[in-house]
Amino acid sequence: MTKNANTIEAEVIELLAHRVPADINVTAQTQIVGGLGLDSVAVLDFIMDVEDRFNISIPLDRVAEVQTIAELSHAIEGLKRAAG
């Protein structure tokens, strides 16, 4: 069964917990680039964590298209659905 967007969002935020500085409060509307206090390589490393958690591939061009955690979660939902 496909996980819904809220569950996915919660898991993504949980994945970020050990990567972002403690003073940053991550929400669905947090900007991935600039809002997480991560440099560009660290963002891509976080995306690998996401790929492994949800067992999907997120090509780099898709990463460039998403700006917020909510958008990333939406993309994950779509990729999971496409992967069956």
């Binding site: 390589v41 660290a42 690998m48 591939s57 780099l60 061009d61």
Partner: protein, 412 residues
């Protein structure tokens, strides 16, 4: 919005770096004295940040060949190979590179960056997947941007992770192209190529290995980590550069695949740029001949690398995972790295300052490159300077044992 406002963050970062002393992106040598010495800020300086792994930039044979070529064929080619023609020396160098690797054919590019940019972006088309090591060089990332393929990163030097990510592509019909490097440029660690070639074989993919930092520094015959790992026949394309061990500039790709030459009329970074000038082709051809006939160059750079790596580790520095011609010191933070780098220059040692995001794992590094041309005395001087700075900055315990061990000797 002002045109350059998008670079405000870069400007702030640069200002902060420069406030620590020098601008690390604008180091100006007044004079290059030899492969290992320069004059910087009016003082003699030992070079430990050049990538001049075999010290061939001042090799007399290479210089003579370069001078001869410039007299014979002029200062430049003034155009690209496909539009303005190939010089006989371009073809000869390609033949020599192919022979060196025992491959059917070679293509030479005007820079190593363009070799990766051209080969990878042209091979990987729409519907294909590129699987790149997460710590890949910028030229590989830029090639991915130029390509119409989908790009997946795999965890650094992790063949199991590569296999897992390839497994997720089940059902996709396009080609899978794996890209990794022989030695990685920041920490100097080498790829587990035997295992990666195994994944390639098992799961069906094309394998590209960039040996930019391993040509001349690894392998019995200087053919890099592919040679060391015994996987040369399983690697579909080896990419490399003329700018490091071969002491000039340019790049190449070699392959046994029969249609390889088609890339000459498909690969835009090859087609739409001027070809290498005769002086460069001349010195590179001579340098390749030097490393093909003189195994002592590779042996010496390996010996020097091990010597510095072990001594730094023994002194208490945290270094990369293995001794290669790149030896990186891990600093506790960016500010310490900047101070360390500035103090080294104050004391006549030039190394590289490597900071995030150009580094893996957001590490701040002092990156040293070792040369076959370094003397034991130069290595000892670099070592003692680094230890002194390490103590001064509180990185090293002053009571820690250092390298008062007997010097190792080169095998006869």
């Amino acid at each position: 919005m002002a045109l350059f406002s998008k670079f405000d963050d870069l400007r702030a970062a640069l200002d902060a770096l420069a406030a620590g002393g020098r601008n690390p992106f604008d180091v100006r040598f007044e004079r290059i004295v030899s492969a290992t010495e320069a004059v910087l800020e009016g003082r003699p300086c030992l070079l430990f940040g050049t990538n001049n792994y075999l010290g061939l930039t001042f090799d007399e044979t290479c210089i003579a060949a370069s001078v001869r070529s410039v007299h014979d064929a002029g200062t430049g080619t003034t155009g690209s190979r496909i539009a303005n023609g190939t010089y006989s020396d371009h073809a000869l160098l390609e033949q020599r590179v192919a022979e060196f690797y025992g491959k059917r054919a070679a293509m030479i590019f005007t820079t190593g960056y363009q070799a990766n940019l051209g080969l990878i972006s042209t091979l990987a088309g729409r519907g294909d997947h590129l699987l790149i090591d997460a710590d890949s060089h910028a030229s590989i990332y830029d090639a991915c941007k130029l390509s119409t393929a989908e790009v997946i990163r795999f965890r650094h030097n992790d063949p199991e992770d590569l296999a897992r990510r390839l497994g997720r592509l089940k059902g996709h019909t396009g080609n899978r192209i794996i890209v990794t490097e022989g030695i990685f440029s920041m920490l100097g660690d080498s790829a587990p190529l035997r295992e990666i070639a195994g994944v390639k074989r098992e799961m069906g993919a094309t394998l590209i290995v960039d040996e930019a930092h391993s040509l001349g520094t690894r392998g019995k015959n200087g053919r890099g980590v592919c040679e060391d790992a015994g996987v040369e026949n399983e690697v579909d394309f080896i990419v490399g550069t003329f700018s490091k061990s071969l002491g000039a500039i340019g790049g190449f790709a070699v392959s046994d695949l029969p249609d390889f030459d088609l890339l000459r009329i498909a690969c835009r970074p090859y087609m739409f740029t001027a070809s290498l000038p005769p002086a460069v082709v001349g010195s590179v051809t001579a340098a390749l001949s030097r490393i093909s006939t003189d195994e002592s160059l590779g042996a010496r750079v390996r010996f020097n690398s091990i010597r510095l790596y072990r001594a730094l580790k023994l002194a208490g520095f945290e270094v990369g995972p293995e001794p290669n011609a790149i030896v990186a010191l891990k600093m506790t933070d960016k500010e310490t790295a900047v101070r360390f780098w500035n103090r080294l220059i104050d004391l006549g040692i030039y190394a590289n300052l490597a900071l995030p995001p150009a580094t893996p794992g957001s590490l701040s590094l002092i990156r040293c490159s070792i040369s076959a041309a370094h003397t034991e005395a130069q290595i000892d001087r670099a070592l003692s300077t680094m230890v002194a700075v390490g103590r001064e900055l509180g990185i090293l315990d002053p009571n820690h044992r250092t390298s008062d061990q007997p010097a190792e000797r080169l095998p006869a």
